[in-house]
């Protein structure tokens, strides 16, 4: 009796698994994602040779404006595709984003408490 029940339930669950597997990237997709990450990393490292390329030292503002978008892009690609957050249960995304926002709040609070955003910081940022 129970065997009959499980046999009936099995194909549906198998189908669910197969459907789930199709949602995830293939091995080839993972390699493509890694290549994209490698290219972004190469571009990041390229900023180290800024002076050789453009003939002058970059301001910290220019470096931050160049590097932060690349860092954020890499961050999103890794958590979205390698960690499957794009495909997985939305609860995981909510839990992780909550922790991330809390960490950013700690980050901003600590920097604010110790006067990180003062005139010296603004001069440093603008290269003045």
């Amino acid at each position: 009796m129970s065997t009959t029940t499980t046999n009936e339930a099995s194909p549906t669950a198998e189908e669910e698994l197969l459907e789930h597997a199709h949602d995830h990237p293939s091995d080839g997709d993972y390699v493509k994602i890694a290549i994209i990450l490698g290219v972004i990393t190469a571009a990041e490292v390229g900023t180290y040779f800024w002076k050789d390329i453009f003939g002058s030292e970059p301001s910290t503002f220019a470096l931050v404006a160049t590097l932060f978008p690349m860092m954020i892009a890499k961050f999103i690609i890794v958590i979205g595709y390698f960690m499957h957050l794009k495909y997985d249960n939305p609860l995981f995304k909510r839990v992780f984003i909550f922790g991330l926002l809390l960490a950013m709040a700690v980050f901003i609070a600590a920097l604010s408490a110790f006067e990180f955003w003062d005139d010296r910081f603004l001069r440093f940022l603008t290269g003045g």
Binding site: S10, P25, V31, V45, Y48, Y81, F82
Partner: protein, 204 residues
């Protein structure tokens, strides 16, 4: 025959996690909660580093010691270990135990190369005159990157454990979630390094 059918069904049942209140794996949810809390740890360490790195009154500073080309290679190695980890998860999900072993071993090896690079970097900085207590930059730098290094080392130990389980025949498709959970941890360690590499090394 009937037993096989029941076993197969049980296996599938474990994958879908109908037995938990949320319908998702408690172990996986636990790992995500841990990673969310780990964001706080690294958030605090990175903000401490940013606050202290230019407040040293003596000794060496970031621009005196950093070797960007060397660290870039280490970063690339860790980034590629995320690829091998993703391939390890994909292979065990398909039930390909042999390839899973290859990818797990590759990931552990790349992690070990990264740690080797970090040990070399720390040793070089120390010889150049930057110890843990030399100045406040040294303390903040070694604490931040050291904590990350400890995370990578723990990840290598977990990968080695999975490899031993696999060699003993205990890591099959039915236990793919164990690989996925270790994978989540490993990718998180990579994500943290993505931030550290930019904030600590590339922005002077």
């Amino acid at each position: 025959m009937a037993d096989t059918a029941v076993h197969s069904s049980t296996t599938v049942h474990e994958h879908t996690h109908d037995d938990t209140a949320t319908g998702i794996s408690n172990s996986k949810l636990g790992m995500w909660v841990f990673l969310a809390s780990d964001c706080l740890l690294f958030g605090a360490l990175i903000s401490t580093y940013l606050l202290l790195r230019h407040r040293s009154t003596h000794g060496l500073g970031p621009t005196d010691v950093f070797d960007i080309p060397f660290t870039s290679v280490s970063s690339f190695v860790l980034l590629m270990s995320s690829l091998t980890m993703a391939l390890a998860v994909a292979s065990i999900t398909r039930g390909d135990v042999h390839r899973n072993r290859v990818w797990l071993a590759s990931t552990a090896l790349l992690g070990a190369v990264f740690i080797g690079g970090q040990v070399y970097e720390f040793t070089t900085f120390y010889r150049e005159g930057l110890g843990y207590t030399t100045n406040i930059f040294g303390s903040a730098f070694y604490t931040l990157t050291g904590f990350h290094g400890i995370h990578v080392t723990v990840g290598i130990i977990m990968l080695a454990s999975l490899l031993v389980m696999s060699l003993r025949g205990n890591l099959t498709r039915e236990r793919a979630e164990a690989v996925e959970i270790v994978g989540l941890y490993w990718h998180f360690v990579d994500v943290v390094w993505i931030v550290i590499f930019t904030v600590v090394y590339l922005i002077p």
